[in-house]
């Protein structure tokens, strides 16, 4: 199972295993990793699953789509080039060891 290393809003780190196919948001919420809300459950409607992908891995996850970018534009934590809505990143073996930093404020 691919792993994800989260840096939580309080600075703590947590590494968890993800089901292949599960999104980063889903993995965090189900395991109680703090900081990701995921209110719309992956519906790409709430923007409460904002993360920053490690700079070395953004090419593997891919960058935010146009719609995602629009959702993030006015996010409470200002977006950067590395911002993604984590419900839109599906875990796979290619992403094993993914490192993401959870945005401090969601919405």
């Amino acid at each position: 199972m691919p792993t994800i290393e989260f840096t939580c809003p309080d600075g703590s780190r947590r590494t968890v295993e993800a089901r292949a196919g599960a999104s980063v948001m889903e993995t965090a919420v189900k395991l109680g990793v703090p900081g990701i809300v995921g209110e719309c459950g992956g519906g790409l409607s709430c923007a409460t699953c904002h993360v920053f992908v490690d700079v070395d891995q953004i090419d593997v996850t891919g960058r935010a789509t146009d719609f995602e970018e629009e959702m993030l534009e006015d996010a409470m934590t200002p977006p950067t080039e590395l911002s993604r809505l984590s419900c839109q990143i599906a875990m796979s073996d290619a992403l094993d060891g993914l490192r993401v930093t959870i945005a401090k404020e969601q919405q």
Binding site: C40, G41, L44
Partner: protein, 423 residues
């Protein structure tokens, strides 16, 4: 503090109540009893990705069992509570296996059940409703070998099912009794926009069309309308709303009016009992003497979070701005605030907003109270922040789609009562 909180109903609201009790530091027993088998799950994908087959079952589940174990939440799945009594110290639940469970505080999160069509033939096989994962599995199997699908009811669930079925190449007809789609929740320009989207994809939309009955002998073969016409159907899906489940609350003597009467934080008429989610009705934000049923994930989560604080004797956090989403194929709708009671409308469309996008802003006494947004997340986030911060938007300037809404937000003056009611 020891003791036991019992939560009846293990859906979105019940799970949130149980887990929040623990994160707020409650150390006693938490028992979550749910009539459906399996882990607590989210319903929104049932009419969308799960029905389409793109979202697997695991993705519906709200929490991993390891987290529930870690939080010491005792889940009794597949168990129905069939009776309840309250006494001075707490009360007792009776379960359908004959066992009993004593509690000192109680949460009711019994949700709602899909309404059935009140017409002859409504119990024929091939006539389905959609509320549970079991319903969705049945519907998905039914869609696989049906050619003509009739969706009765042009509300969110019905339209989502219609979009999913149409994307699979089925012939789809939506039959709506009102004169437009989503008539109870959105203004006419928004209804028209949604209708155009569905019609452009080949769905037939009949409005002002009442269903008189279903035809068929051993399974449904058609839908007869009020004007006498019969439309052929291999599968009929009724999306005609849901009724709050209130039987336990009634048995306990709580105030019930359509739903269990609560405040925004889930307090019922009994100090040891909270009720949360779709089973409740709560004060209308613009008309506090009226009661409103808010069937949304946002309400389930926020009301349950507040109710957990209430049960522990803490002050609940103020409620945020209510919002809802509905995805119908690539038509993405985001509704924010509560529009009913508006006296002025502003429509933003065209220009630089781009094709297929529409925002309808609702005003009351000159002040922004809500918006319905199609395909324009920038407008949605700007309006959500405006409402959360008690700000408004000039209704004339807001019509100019070349100006981003977020640059137009100004402090709302006067009439602070509405803002206070929203908080």
């Amino acid at each position: 503090m020891t003791g036991c909180v019992a939560v009846v109903g293990a859906g979105q609201a019940g799970l949130q109540l149980a887990t929040t009790l623990r994160t707020l530091g409650y150390d006693g027993r938490i028992v979550l009893v749910g009539a459906e088998p399996g882990l607590p799950y989210q319903r929104p994908p049932l009419s969308k990705g799960f029905l389409a087959g793109t979202v697997p079952h695991e993705e519906l589940e709200l929490r991993d069992p390891s987290l529930l174990a870690e939080q010491r939440i005792e889940l009794h799945a597949g168990r129905r509570v069939v009776g309840a009594v309250l006494d001075r110290a707490g009360g007792l639940l009776r379960l359908d296996d004959g066992s009993e469970l004593a509690f000192d505080r109680l949460g009711l999160a019994t949700g709602a059940t899909a309404r059935r069509l009140p017409v002859p033939g409504a119990d024929l096989p091939g006539m389905l409703t959609l509320r549970s994962v079991a319903d969705a599995e049945q519907l998905r199997a039914g869609l696989a070998d049906a050619a003509d699908i009739i969706v009765v009811g042009g509300g969110f669930v019905g339209l989502e099912v219609a979009a999913t079925a149409r994307a699979q190449g089925r012939r789809v007809t939506v039959v709506e009794a009102a004169d437009r789609l989503l008539a109870r929740v959105v203004a006419a320009p928004f209804s028209a926009h949604v209708r155009t989207w569905h019609e452009a994809r080949g769905t037939t939309v009949l409005t002002g069309a009442a269903v008189a009955g279903l035809t068929g002998t051993d399974r449904v073969t058609g839908v007869t309308l009020g004007d006498g016409r019969t439309l052929p159907a291999d599968l009929v899906v009724a999306g005609v709303g849901a009724s709050p489940v209130t039987s336990l609350a009634e048995e306990l003597g709580l105030d019930v009016e359509r739903g269990i009467v609560t405040d925004v934080a889930g307090r019922t008429s009994h100090p040891r009992v909270v009720a949360v989610g779709d089973c409740t009705v709560q004060p209308h934000p613009h008309a506090p003497d009226r009661l409103l049923g808010i069937e949304s994930v946002n309400n389930a989560v926020e009301q349950a979070t507040a109710a957990a604080a209430v049960l522990l004797g803490h002050e609940p956090a103020p409620r945020g701005v209510p919002w809802f989403w509905s995805n119908q194929g690539d038509l993405r709708l985001q509704l924010v605030g509560i529009s009913d009671g508006y006296d002025e409308l502003v429509v933003r469309r065209g220009g630089s907003a781009g094709e297929g996008r529409l925002t309808v802003l609702y005003y009351r006494w000159g002040r922004l109270i809500a918006a319905d947004v199609a395909g324009n997340p920038r407008d949605f986030t700007a309006i959500r922040s405006a409402l959360a911060e008690g700000r408004t938007l000039d209704p004339i300037l807001a019509q100019d789609t070349d100006v981003p809404l977020r640059t137009l937000l100004t402090e709302a003056r006067g009439l602070p009562a509405d803002a206070a009611a929203r908080a």
